[in-house]
């Protein structure tokens, strides 16, 4: 004890104090999670995305036990079957089962979305942290580069890339991420600039922490909320971009199924077999809507600036 007299005096249990100290530690994360849980729309939408993702992961199981078809199996005797039995959502012009293809297409579409978000967050966060923390010429250099990336007409890049590389889910994700990370970098840099002003950064420097530790252990957790928000709002957008690229023939190429290229494929049969347009269209619509609503819920729960 430094000073027994004072210490004893301070440790006298005052009722208010005891009560307060028994409150469980509520971290920022706990509180945000509580807020998210109480948002019913957000939870429903989040669960829907989760279910779609699980279906996509378990695609072979589903197709084996539910639809009994394989995504590439042609059945030229049964083309353009309307929804019903045995093809729940009908068949296309080559007799392929629509539901099976939708499930497999979900693998591609959701996989691309996830990978794109991961890539653009990683790159954007790294650049944003470096630019915001080091400032000066590093900041200028990196941010001007970001400006260039953001000013680049993305559609031309997509066309060029589709010509140069045969788009696979991985290259497609890399291409979409290569234009998507700029916004993340700006967001992170802005947040770093504001967090950097706070005394705890100075305090951490004053206890002799390295820059690396300062950035990873102290800055990054403080910008994580905006990253979570950016990620969850980005998913819907990326699914739309991916679908649009597929639709234009710049994305995933047939015969691999994706929601976008199923839509392209079916447009020729619009008046003939309209369900071929409906099902991928509705799937995209519902997924994007759910992703955006979930993104909004996450923002309401996590964004420190909305409190």
């Amino acid at each position: 004890m430094i000073d027994p007299g004072h210490a004893v005096e301070r440790e006298l249990p005052s009722p208010a104090f005891e009560g307060e100290s028994r409150r469980p530690a509520q971290s920022y994360w706990n509180e945000s999670w509580e807020r998210l849980r109480s948002n019913r729309i957000g939870i429903v939408c989040g669960s829907l995305i989760l279910v779609l993702a699980l279906i996509a992961i378990a695609a072979p199981l589903f197709t084996q036990f539910l639809t009994h078809y394989e995504p590439f199996r042609l059945d030229l005797d049964n083309t353009f079957q309307p929804p019903g039995h045995p093809h729940l959502l009908g068949t296309d012009e080559l007799g392929r089962d629509t539901l099976t293809r939708l499930i497999y297409g979900g693998r591609v579409t959701l996989g691309v979305a996830l990978l794109t978000v991961a890539l653009s967050l990683t790159l954007g966060t790294t650049v944003g942290l470096a630019a915001g923390f080091y400032g000066r010429w590093i900041d200028d250099l990196l941010m001007r580069f970001v400006d260039v990336v953001l000013a680049f007409p993305a559609i031309f890049l997509f066309i060029l890339m589709a010509i140069l590389f045969r788009p696979t889910p991985i290259t497609l994700a890399a291409i979409i991420a290569s234009v998507g990370w700029g916004g993340v970098a700006r967001l992170v840099r802005g947040e770093v600039l504001s967090v950097k002003q706070r005394d705890f950064i100075l305090a951490t420097q004053s206890i002799g922490a390295r820059d690396g530790r300062l950035i990873v252990r102290h800055l990054l957790p403080n910008v994580l909320p905006v990253l979570i928000v950016a990620a969850s709002l980005g998913v819907g957008q990326i699914i739309l971009i991916e679908a649009a690229l597929d639709f234009l023939g710049l994305g995933i190429q047939p015969p691999t199924a994706s929601w976008g290229n199923m839509l392209t494929n079916s447009q020729s049969y619009f008046f003939h077999s309209v369900w071929l347009v409906y099902f991928p269209g509705i799937t995209i619509f519902v997924t994007v809507l759910a992703a955006n609503l979930f993104g909004n819920a996450v923002r309401d729960a996590f964004d420190p600036r909305l409190k």
């Binding site: 249990p13 920022y28 004053s206 206890i207 922490a209």
Partner: protein, 329 residues
């Protein structure tokens, strides 16, 4: 025989702005003995904090353009970044003005208080946390083991400042720099924190530099005081003597601008007229001269050096160096 721990010699720190170089610290010299408490006072923007940051090597974006910071004989201005990291938090610890923002909101308090131990002693997390809990208890946080699990927002301002002090003390540094440690706290908590700093100084033998603009705090805490104005030391000496017989008109004016218990009734407070000068292009002569009620012709011509005035004090003033007493006109 006291041992000089920290000696600052002719320190100069500038900040480059588009209007020119701001000389935030302009030739500051002082020393700090082991175990003593030194007060640095002055109004906002006179270079107190920059002096402290320059000692720690954290003056960026400012630049140290001259002088030495000798810590136990080693010049810290020439130390490498790796050497500085060893000094920071291990030899010299610092606490800040605003306890509301000086703890990282996303980590538990115990984790943060334990961080210097993990950085400098290489101990594992469990041991460091035990050390942190013990230290939290010593700085007067009740049920420290429970409290270590709390997040900073669950702490009051006073408790956060205690936690900051605990964090600084875990590695038993020889110097504690407290930069306006009580400015953001309410008066009763101020008294408790100052009390704690005094105890720390006594029990741990930590030499303390207390930066403040509150003369009352200095009077109660510090053996020696140093008054800064426009990036320069204008007066220094034992607190008792400086307060009783200020030898620089700035100190004299400061003392008359605050209320005191032993003043004559109805005696009005006398604010210091004017504003501190622009630190980019200081006029020749004494920086305080335009606001000084005692100025003589020489003051606007030559810059006075910090010289011995009276028995124990140093002052940078032509008037008092010439032997004139500072008295009401």
């Amino acid at each position: 025989m006291t041992q000089t721990l920290l000696e600052v010699q002719d320190l100069r720190t500038v900040f480059a702005t588009k209007d020119g170089n701001v000389k935030a610290v302009d030739g500051v010299s002082f020393h700090l003995d082991a175990g003593e408490t030194l007060g640095i006072v002055g109004e906002s923007g006179c270079g107190k904090s920059v002096t402290a940051m320059s000692i720690m090597g954290l003056q960026r974006p400012g630049r140290i353009v001259g002088g030495k910071v000798l810590f136990k004989g080693n010049d810290l201005t020439k130390a490498s970044e790796a050497e500085m990291r060893e000094v920071r938090g291990q030899q010299i610890a610092m606490i800040f003005q605003d306890p509301m923002t000086s703890l990282n909101p996303v980590f538990r308090a115990g984790w943060q208080v334990a961080e210097p131990l993990r950085l400098h002693r290489g101990v594992d997390f469990v041991k460091a946390l035990a050390g942190a809990v013990a230290m939290l208890g010593r700085v007067g946080i009740p049920s420290p083991a429970e409290r270590a699990k709390n997040y900073p927002h669950q702490f009051s301002g006073g408790m956060r400042q205690r936690a900051m002090i605990a964090m600084g003390l875990t590695t038993t540094p020889q110097v504690l720099i407290a930069d306006e440690p009580t400015t953001a706290l309410d008066v009763t908590i101020q008294a408790q924190i100052l009390d704690l700093l005094r105890t720390v100084n006594r029990e741990f033998g930590t030499a303390t530099i207390l930066i403040t603009h509150n003369l009352g705090v200095v009077a109660g805490m510090c053996e020696r005081v140093m008054v800064m104005y426009a990036g320069k030391v204008v007066e220094s000496g034992p607190t008792v003597d400086v307060f009783a017989h200020p030898k620089h008109p700035y100190t004299w004016s400061l003392l008359r601008s605050i209320p005191r218990l032993d003043a004559e009734r109805h005696e009005p407070l006398k604010p210091i007229e004017g504003l501190p000068p622009n630190l980019i292009d200081l006029p020749p002569g004494c920086a305080f001269q335009p606001r000084c009620p005692f100025r003589i012709e020489r003051c606007s011509r030559d810059t006075p050096a910090l010289n011995r005035v009276g028995e124990t004090q140093l002052a940078a003033c032509w008037v008092t160096q010439a032997g004139t007493e500072l008295k009401d006109a």
